[in-house]
Symmetry: none
Subunit: 214 residues, 4 copies
DNA sequence: CATGAATGAGCTTTCATTCAT
DNA sequence: CATGAATGAAAGCTCATTCAT
């Protein structure tokens, strides 16, 4: 009845342990997948016994769920920042830049997220992805309005979004392949990627003058 | 001599069973990951006992290895077809189309492949990626020559390739996310994606400003 | 109904195959024990499929049983040759020599036999050891008569027999230990053993003259 | 840290369980051999679940290794006690008596040991026999010195040792055969064996012909 | 005769989880 | 709070054996 997970108000020590567990779990889950990870391994990396770990989290799934929730927040950060603007092309390019930065700084989170989707979103409850859905719809509407007003080139907003996600997340999710194929480019990978992607999306999105359209 | 896997020349029944196992294994591996998949589940789906399955494949790893090899062949198909051409922009656009078609027709293979890379390409499977490497280098050199000759817009060949892979594979690998976010678009997903991607890469690659085009 | 094991009259080919199987099985059983040996391994070494092997022998146990029977015959050979004689001491020494020769020439058989006894004679039916029992009793009686007549020194016939068996079989059964402890003596092992053992038993058995026998 | 086998300092319960497991394992290993024994059987006899057993010992091999180590200590006990002495013949006879006592009191250990050697001392366990080697060499040298000084009859020390081992261990290792052949002698088996063996080795080792004795 | 094919039973081991202290 | 102890379930895999051809 005194279990950490039952109380809303946590002591400092409880919060610290929770973070240590999540840090360890992120390492393991992101490099072995949910099924490939064992809570023994996680507890060992977190420097505690497995029963201790399960004192803080009801089950392996609960740890994973919490990690996924946090990852989603990180993931949504750049998207939340995309607002209507005087310069929609640059607004989108900024989104690309921020999204790429997330890949660079949170590659394990990106892989955790990718794995979840790759496996068909099996565990996460519908509800976990709800925030994403409503924000996504809003931003799609925003881009649609930009297109409608001729402020960016005509483009399918959904596929634009998917392209941005794909290209930016690729550098985190497929890092091992990139390392395998072009190890010599790793030093400036994210800088070059930014240059490349921003150029690509800018070229694509700059609207033709109304006279030259078509 | 006694076991199916020992013989080079397979009987009809061996070929059939082998294919049935691989089909079942592709289902399971692509939706559960290597560790998440159990050979019990695979054998059940293939309609045979687990020892029967192991009569045809030495181990779980051997099944996975074979699947990965075949997947790599499929994966390399479009890349192999990319050749020097009078119209390099269209050559690349054709590559994009073919790569997208692979995603549409072999989504499970794509996810198997993605999972492998996401998990960091475990050492055991590394050598399997060797053929990819040499073909990749050749095609990078080809694109470089097109850039050098001014036949396509200046672009970093590596990042162009990564972008193409990312954007085309996304439709297979992140399908569950797409279904979650825009179920109403699933009907024409790949057609729309093709339109979008081909437009994007064409815009990006056409060598000169619009005034000088053609 | 036509199975080889059912018919008493075997064709030449059947006899050959049977021998090949037994030769392979002796190798495996003697170096891995009954449980440690697998019929797959045996059939592979015999150069045939496992079902073929089981065509000639009903089961793993049947192979083992046949091997054990044959081994017993070999084992009994020297004992059978021990007869009443003018010089009982030499008769026993000759038995020692012959028994040692068996160890030298049939070490695998000796180990098979030893393993069976070590494991408590679990499989062999009572009946298999019956011939040994009656011959043993006869020879014990013979030795007893020699002792009674003062033709050899007073000795407990049972324990004399056990000593001879122990010391001669040791060179086959514990060969790996001897190799480990005195590899430099392996070259002349059996010659030295013979010298040593014959001297030991002769010293022990030579009767004191009647006047000196306390 | 979490597992019993990781800690150097064991709790009372750990020591107890460890001993229970080893007791059960000795029963099973000595009567079925390493391969023939299953940890399921061992855990059942020890009154615990198989995972519990594996909580105390990493693997089947580890249990066996520990048993073998302990057995070697018991085995070496009498040999260690053999020292230079005023009466080398009696010293050796005492060794024989002690060795025989070990066979009587630790027959399962003797069979475990014998089985290991019979199977050729699998590589994994080889290093465990190192202590035996050095002690053996020392005692061989001791006996050699006795021979050199004429304090015992000329004898090959290696073969003397092998004879002693063979004859004393025989009563443990081949017990089932003895029971089969002379059940009526089981009551006084070890007492008779001692009489017989001590007489045999004394006769053999007393340095001079009977005329000069004392 | 010979063997490819098939499988139930069993093997060693791992894992997520519970419980008592 | 923390952990030593315990286990049912399931994993990958081996094995002796059967059966149809």
């Amino acid at each position: 009845m005194a279990k950490a997970r039952d109380t809303k108000t946590k002591t400092r020590i409880q919060r610290e342990k929770t973070e240590e567990i999540l840090a360890a779990a992120l390492d393991i889950f992101s490099s072995a997948g949910f099924r490939g990870a064992s809570i023994n391994e996680i507890s060992k990396r977190a420097g505690m016994s497995t029963p201790s770990l399960l004192y803080y989290f009801q089950s392996k799934e609960h740890i994973h769920r919490e990690l996924l929730s946090r990852t989603l927040l990180v993931w949504l950060g750049p998207l939340n920042l995309m607002k209507d603007s005087d310069d929609p092309v640059e607004e989108i390019c900024t989104y690309v830049r921020r999204k790429l930065e997330i890949s660079e700084q949170f590659p394990r989170e990106s892989r955790l997220f990718a794995n979840e989707i790759l496996m068909g979103i099996p565990r996460a409850e519908q509800s976990q992805f709800d925030p994403l859905r409503s924000i996504f719809d809003a931003k799609i509407a925003l881009i649609e309005s930009w297109v409608r007003d001729g402020r960016i080139a005509p483009v399918d907003p959904h596929h634009l979004m998917y392209s941005i996600w794909a290209t930016t997340q690729h550098y985190a999710d497929f890092e091992s392949q990139i390392k395998e194929l072009s190890p010599e480019k790793m030093g400036t990978l994210f800088r070059d990627a930014e240059t490349h992607l921003v150029a690509m999306y800018r070229t694509m999105l700059v609207p033709n003058g109304p006279e030259a359209s078509e």
